[in-house]
């Protein structure tokens, strides 16, 4: 399945890729054991110091390995695709899901018997102590079954303490000052503290924890240096021996010290990123503007004669590191994530001073992305009209090879939305998407992105059934009246609105309860030390230490399925009166069994994505309802405005799975439309310009994300002319005020074949929602849905 490449992949990187993809993913007990041991012995230690202490113990004791061919070292485990278990966040699920871990529909994980033994012992300690259990207990005490019922019915989904932290750490700081520089900065802040001020004591613990966790990562690097040295001594192959010696030298210097060449910079970057991922079970930790902070180091070496091939090889080695990152997640989370880790690399855009930011490194990132072509890292291009045309065309060329990477984000949208959050222009210019797709300010924002996903489809079901979920019989919303008595569409919409607002509140109550719990149970001093202004404020990022706390924390899903359903009800029941509400409810209740004619009629009603104003207006109203509904509920825990995010992850699958048949003709339990502005699979029949026009009509602002997926046939992007047309679609979406457009350029025949012969398509990647995943990681339901998405070619 190797696509075409402008620059051939180095043999080393190709071998490494093959080795990684051949390796099954597994869970090891290393971290759980070390951290649990540490916890057993340190009851009563201030939490920040306890976290840093446990982290340091882990860095000192974890098993490490350097693999053949590697130039960049460091992994989550001593396996190519192993992952650690983080019992502090959620632990008990492991016991009930142990049997099915290796055979479940997505994110299968192997686990050795001896590891099972250790983990089962560890989770005994964590029973009642893990974050998820604490949260659930708190909800029960405060709100009875309101939250757990919503979770059970999948009106809302609890992420079981699997943190989604959206941030771009200050890699630049580590590259230029080293972790020693961070420690120095922290010590200077420590000096300023008073010993007779209450808050300063917490600050002291926090700052000490920052220092300790920086030291921990430095220790890990030193251990890799020693290991490389030892391996070099035993290595017979002269070339490899030299490489190992070089690894030893690089790891002896970074990330403790400033990087002095490109190789050191790449390795220093990786240790920093890895440190954050080893500290917490976060996902969505994004490298951000990689081309900006790496370019000076490339330039430094380019002057001394580093070849582009060598630069691409080193970057290829680190790209393959990203793909090795994975997590041990419970099934319900796995169904949402489909193997992704949301590590987002951004290229292009503007500099803080307003200059065109595209540089040689931006092109190299695209080259490596094309060579490696894997779901992680996800690569984002910041588009604006000043971007060099050859750069955008090159990005189009890379995405035309399939895999949905890079995605195209519009500066124009971000520049008009971010200032609404009182962010000054020089910071706005530095913006980058984080995790999947949310616009935040790198190195300065904590994109608090919590457990507040709610199902709009469910809200409609509740409005149709007077607050009762017809699937579970649970009462999840207020009584909004017998829908068969509604006289007008406005009556229906008013009921729907009440259900939405109530569910936003339910999810807010749930997710906001996590903030204090996280701050008090699982602070992240290492990551915090790399985010402005945590050190200056003496506060962990989980405690509101960041310069910008951007509460991306109201997350509706199922916009388009709900839009189409509302419109179908409007047309069929209220405007044209072709059937009664009672008949509609009966048909939905039996999943259209024996009502195929009605279902076809419903399918034939205009759908979002075809540039039909009336339908698009319903979608626009829905976006505004969600956004305003969340904002009206008041600010987030640190006084910041709550923003609604409209993106993807695999929730269209999870929420769709718990949703009955819908009035748009969708059958029960099928996925809803993906993302937030993508059309329902197969329903956008007028081509991408119509779809783009529909998307652009939706009033998304002030939200900091929206997502439009377009599937295009490879034949439409053939040759320079074809790539230009793709670029022109992107430009026009930007002109029309869109935020993000991404493309799946793979023909349907290939996907059918891949479904039949998954073994042949181990490296086939597809854009699912705001992320790209391996085809083979997608559950069968998602695969079918990807096949069904309309393919545009004329």
């Amino acid at each position: 399945m190797a696509g075409k490449m402008k620059y051939p992949i180095s043999k080393r990187v190709a071998r490494l890729k093959d080795a990684i993809l051949s390796e099954p993913m597994s869970i090891v007990s290393d971290r759980s054991r070390i951290v649990t041991e540490y916890y057993r012995e340190t009851d009563g230690e201030p939490v920040a110091l306890r976290r840093a202490g446990a982290f340091k113990a882990f860095m000192e004791k974890m098993s490490i390995k350097i693999f053949d061919d590697e130039l960049i070292v460091g992994g989550l485990t001593d396996r190519l695709r192993g992952c650690q278990f983080f019992p502090e966040y959620a632990s008990q699920w492991l016991k009930s899901e142990l049997e099915t871990l290796s055979s479940r529909e997505t994110e299968q994980r192997l686990i050795d018997d001896e590891d099972v033994e250790v983990l089962l012992e560890d989770i005994k300690y964590w029973k009642g102590r893990s974050l998820d259990e604490k949260a659930i207990a708190l909800w029960k005490e405060q709100y009875g079954t309101r939250i757990s019922d919503a979770n059970e019915a999948r009106a809302y989904i609890d992420f079981k303490g699997s943190l989604i932290t959206r941030l771009h750490a200050d890699y630049d700081k580590v590259l230029n000052k080293g972790l020693k520089g961070v420690i120095k900065e922290t010590k200077a802040e420590l000096k300023k503290l008073k010993i007779d001020v209450y808050e300063d004591l917490d600050k002291r613990y926090f700052l000490q924890a920052v220092i300790k966790s920086c030291e921990a990562v430095m220790i890990l690097a030193k251990r890799y240096s020693s290991l490389a040295k030892k391996m070099a001594k035993q290595e017979k192959n002269k070339k490899r021996k030299k490489e190992l010696e070089e690894i030893a030298a690089v790891c002896a210097r970074v990330p403790a010290n400033p990087a002095e060449n490109f190789y050191e910079a790449v390795q220093s970057f990786w240790f920093t990123h890895l440190g954050i991922l080893l500290e917490a079970t976060a996902s969505g930790v994004s490298p951000g503007r990689f081309d900006q902070y790496m370019y000076p180091f490339y330039q430094m070496d380019a002057d001394k004669g580093i070849t582009d091939d060598r630069a691409r090889e080193l970057m290829g080695c680190v790209w393959l590191k990203f793909i090795q990152i994975n997590r041990a997640r419970s099934l319900d989370l796995a169904q949402v994530s489909h193997g992704t880790m949301y590590q987002n690399v951004t290229v292009g855009g503007e500099t803080a001073e307003g200059k065109v930011a595209v540089n040689k490194m931006s092109y190299l990132v695209l080259d490596v992305t094309e060579q490696v072509r894997l779901p992680q890292p996800t690569v984002s291009v910041r588009y604006n009209d000043r971007s060099p045309e050859d750069f955008i065309l090159r990005a189009c060329e890379v995405v035309s090879g399939g895999g949905g990477i890079p995605a195209f984000f519009m500066d124009k949208y971000a520049y008009s939305a971010l200032p609404l959050f009182n962010i000054p222009l020089e910071d706005v210019r530095q913006w980058a998407p984080v995790g999947c797709i949310e616009a935040i300010i790198p190195t300065k924002s904590h994109g608090a992105f919590y457990w507040s996903f709610y199902s709009l489809g469910k809200c409609l079901e509740l409005a149709l059934h007077n607050g009762i979920d017809p699937q579970t019989g649970l009462k999840l919303g207020p009584k909004t009246g017998d829908s068969t008595k509604f006289k007008t569409y406005d009556d229906l919409f008013a009921a729907f609105k009440k259900q939405v607002i109530y569910l936003i509140e339910t999810s807010k109550l749930a997710n906001h309860s996590y903030h204090p719990l996280e701050a008090s149970l699982v602070p992240v001093p290492f990551a915090s030390g790399l985010l402005d202004d945590c050190i200056k404020n003496g506060k962990d990022l989980r405690d509101g230490g960041a310069k910008y706390n951007m509460f991306l924390s109201s997350n509706p899903r199922g916009h388009i399925t709900t839009t189409n359903s509302l419109y179908a009800l409007k047309k069929m029941v209220f405007d044209d009166k072709r059937i009664t509400m009672k008949e509609m409810l009966e048909a939905l209740a039996v999943n259209f069994k024996g009502k195929e004619k009605l279902r076809k009629q419903l399918e034939a009603i205009p759908k979002y994505g075809n540039d039909v104003d009336d339908v698009d207006q319903v979608a626009s109203d829905l976006f505004q309802l969600c956004e305003k509904g969340a904002r009206d509920l008041g600010p987030g825990p640190f006084g910041d405005t709550i923003t609604t995010t409209n993106q993807g992850i695999g929730l269209h699958y999870v929420f769709g799975g718990a949703l009955g048949a819908t009035p748009d003709g969708r059958m029960a339990n099928m996925p809803t439309a993906d993302g937030s502005l993508s059309a329902y699979p197969g329903s956008d029949t007028r081509g991408p310009t119509a779809l783009i026009n529909s998307a652009a009509k939706i009033a998304v602002k002030p939200c900091l994300s929206s997502l439009l997926n377009v599937k295009i046939h490879p034949g439409s992007v053939k040759g320079l002319d074809g790539l230009r047309k793709l670029m022109q679609l992107i430009k026009t979406y930007s002109d029309l005020g869109g935020y993000l457009i991404q493309f799946n350029i793979v023909d349907t025949e290939t996907l059918y074949d891949a479904k039949e012969h998954p073994e042949k398509y181990r490296d086939l990647t597809v854009r699912v929602a705001g992320f790209t995943a391996f085809w083979i990681d997608c559950a069968p339901g998602i695969q079918d849905e990807l096949i069904a998405r309309t393919q545009h070619e004329f």
């Binding site: 195929e596 004619k597 076809k600 009629q601 034939a604 540039d611 007028r686 081509g687 991408p688 310009t689 119509a690 026009n693 439409s716 074809g722 230009r724 047309k725 022109q728 679609l729 430009k731 026009t732 002109d735 029309l736 545009h792 070619e793 004329f794």
Partner: protein
């Protein structure tokens, strides 16, 4: 309002056409064509009148269409719908009753404004890509007055226009359309008039003359040659075609269109027999020799498009 608003019959409007001229375009397919090319891939555009088509892959054999048919022209089988075209009066009742999308009417009567309402929606795409509107068919010359109005309206909006024509029509009508055509797609199907008549139903005299007319007006032209195995793809014909094209002063590009099976399903949809039988589709490589011949004459050649 005494003046009657002129209407035209169209097959459909295709947005995001990326193979019908420069940039991103919308293509308006006119209904009615004086030619009956055996390989025609848009047979629903041949007749000037409105007609019913069926896409049997969508049919669920519910029989709703049969119930409403007043002339008893519909048979429903396991394969879907069949329409007896001799008795069908194209009243459209069956298409109205069909809720699966199997049956539909093709050939609605519209005004230029109706078309503009649709194509205007993509004007920014045209502007950003140097695209515009392509008028094809069917054959635009059949409804020349209407097409002239349409092209003129496009020019008023500043859009680039392509006229996609077989060239079989009066010089006067053609001239009228050329006033508002920025680029012409021109089909040359056979250089031997007798053979041309055999495979398209009409001789080629008018067509060749009109090509010369366009050349004399110096309007840029792409010559398009459907490559149909055994009908017109022999070396002699290709050489003659190249020579003729060489005489014209305005040919900017030659497009070789390898035979494909696009017309097969559509013939079925219209209950017509497919004249090409089970002839296999060509691959791009199959026209390499013809490509070489044109290139030797100095033409820029594209396969497909």
């Amino acid at each position: 309002m005494s003046e009657k608003i002129r209407k035209g019959r169209i097959v459909n409007i295709q947005r995001y056409s990326v193979h019908d001229g420069p940039g991103i375009r919308s293509t308006v397919f006119m209904k009615g064509c004086p030619l009956k090319c055996m390989w025609c891939s848009n047979p629903e555009s041949q007749k000037t009148e409105e007609e019913v088509i069926h896409r049997n892959s969508l049919c669920i054999q519910c029989g709703s269409c049969k119930e409403v048919c007043e002339t008893d022209s519909i048979t429903v089988t396991d394969e879907g719908v069949q329409i007896n075209r001799d008795t069908c009066i194209t009243c459209g009742k069956c298409a109205e009753a069909c809720y699966t999308g199997t049956l539909s009417m093709v050939g609605s009567l519209v005004t230029v404004d109706d078309i503009m309402d649709v194509v205007k929606k993509d004007s920014l795409f045209y502007r950003n890509s140097g695209g515009g509107i392509t008028v094809g068919g069917g054959e635009p010359l059949v409804q020349a007055e209407f097409v002239r109005d349409l092209l003129e309206a496009c020019h008023k909006n500043g859009w680039h226009t392509v006229l996609d024509t077989c060239g079989y029509g009066s010089a006067k009508k053609l001239k009228m359309l050329l006033e508002h055509a920025d680029l012409v797609f021109y089909d040359l199907k056979h250089m031997d008039s007798r053979k041309h008549k055999k495979i398209t139903g009409v001789p080629n005299g008018k067509i060749l003359k009109n090509a010369e007319l366009i050349s004399s007006l110096d309007i840029p032209m792409y010559v398009r040659i459907p490559m149909i195995p055994g009908l017109n793809d022999d070396k002699t014909n290709i050489r003659k075609t190249a020579k003729f094209a060489k005489k014209l002063k305005n040919v900017k590009q030659v497009n070789l269109l390898p035979y494909h099976l696009g017309g097969l399903g559509k013939h079925n949809n219209l209950d017509r027999e497919y004249p090409m039988g089970d002839l296999k589709a060509m691959k791009d490589d199959d026209v390499a020799e013809a490509k070489g011949i044109f290139e030797k004459e100095g033409f820029k050649v594209e396969v497909g498009g």
